[in-house]
Amino acid sequence: MSTSTPRLALTRPVKTEAMSLGDDILSDAYTKIDLNIGANRTRAAIVSPYKGQFAWDTADAQRPDGGLHVNDGASWRYIGGWHDPRGRTSPDSWVGRGDQVQDNLALKLFQMTSVMSGDRRYMVRYSSTLRQRFVGSTTKANFIVKWAAGTNVEIDGNLIDSALVPIYGNTNGCCITVMRAIAFDPGDLGFVSGDLTIGLFTDQTLSADFIVNPSGGLTDMDVQDIGANI
């Protein structure tokens, strides 16, 4: 008596059995193979999945786990998908050092260029040190992050983040280190793909001066792909 394979249930005839090679065996086998090759169907469409079977679901707001799934015999496990984070972008520069900031002057501390895509979301992170220059006042520095298509960005670029950072103290030399992480989505402003440059700027909003990166201080910046913009 014929038997069946355990997963696709392909018919395995025996010698003594009268079966049609074309209709009973090949046609049935081809139908099952065709249906199961690759990742053809969604999880919902597969009524009795076998262990190791693939399913592909489309990602959308209602199904954020869209992507490839594999069945482990009891449940579907998410394996990966288009909207997963892709990590480090490839900046042309990595670490920058800034200069002393003067009154009301927007200063570009840092910029980095990466190949990016408008259908992805990114996280920019920066770290910098501020030092107050004069005695007897409180200083505030405004850190501004902007982006522009191409390999250069200036203060009139597209805004990603602005943060007012105070230094409270009454003596020369008070310092703080600031670190911020901000997600942004260049596709929101019509960016499609190609070089994109992110810049870190600062200016002074109160009367006392401050210094960015006082001797040996460092400004550091990185960009990560944190997933698709779905």
Partner: protein
């Protein structure tokens, strides 16, 4: 009359049909063999021109596994993508004092075996405290990560990236400042190594230490953030 499957176009004979070995067996095996698991293509130029829904290919130039989702090829996975948290260490008590001008450490360290051709980010946050010294002057220390093969890293280890100066917040003692930094690291891979955080007291007359307690936890951790190329 024979019909054909939707995706691979395999010929399905019916009772009245003779089985033709060339068309019904050999050709079917070839088509199945061509696409089983993932078909490898050199670049996007060689993606199948008539893909079927759910077809999986491996694109060799980008090292991406792609799936045809009915209307477009979607990247599903790649060895270029990040693999996330590797490990780290923390310090929630005060360190030993660091004398003026002295270098000490590692205060935080982590041992792991990196893979070749990967980017690792070594991230740290720490609190620096002025312990004693001349009033009206802040304290500062240079913070530097180093690595060394084996389970221990010493002050003679190789620097990871650029160090930076971390300044205590005020002129008085017992004031702390929080420092954070990310250093990027790559290695030939395959060998155990240790990364560690070292401090050099930059002053000539002040003592500092890493401040740690329940509210001030110093951390160092390593993340795989993707392939180098």
């Amino acid at each position: 009359m024979a019909t054909y499957t939707d995706r691979l176009k395999l010929r399905r004979p019916v009772d009245a049909d003779f089985v033709n070995v060339d068309n019904d067996v050999n050709l079917a095996w070839d088509r199945i063999d061509d696409v089983i698991n993932a078909k490898a293509v050199a670049s996007a130029l060689f993606l199948p021109s008539t893909p079927y829904q759910g077809q999986i290919v491996y694109q060799e130039d980008t090292r991406e596994l792609k799936i045809f989702q009915g209307s477009a090829w979607i990247t599903w996975a790649s060895d270029k993508f990040p693999r996330g948290y590797v490990g780290g260490s923390s310090l929630s008590s005060n360190s030993a004092n660091i004398a003026a001008g002295a270098t000490a450490g590692p205060f935080l360290s982590f041992t792991f075996t990196p893979e070749a051709n990967r980017y690792y980010w070594i991230e740290h946050e720490l609190f620096l405290r002025k312990v004693s010294g001349t009033n009206q002057r802040n304290t500062w220390a240079n913070v530097l990560l180093r690595w060394e093969l084996g389970a221990v890293v010493t002050v003679g280890g190789t620097a990871v990236g650029t160090g930076y100066n971390l300044y205590s917040a005020h002129d008085e003692t017992d004031n702390t400042v929080n420092g954070t930094m990310i250093n990027e690291f790559t290695h030939a891979g395959g060998a155990q190594l240790t990364v560690g955080l070292f401090l050099t007291n930059g002053t000539s007359d002040r003592v500092c230490q890493i401040a740690g307690d329940a509210d001030r936890v110093n951390r160092l951790y390593v993340r795989d953030v993707g392939a180098v190329a």
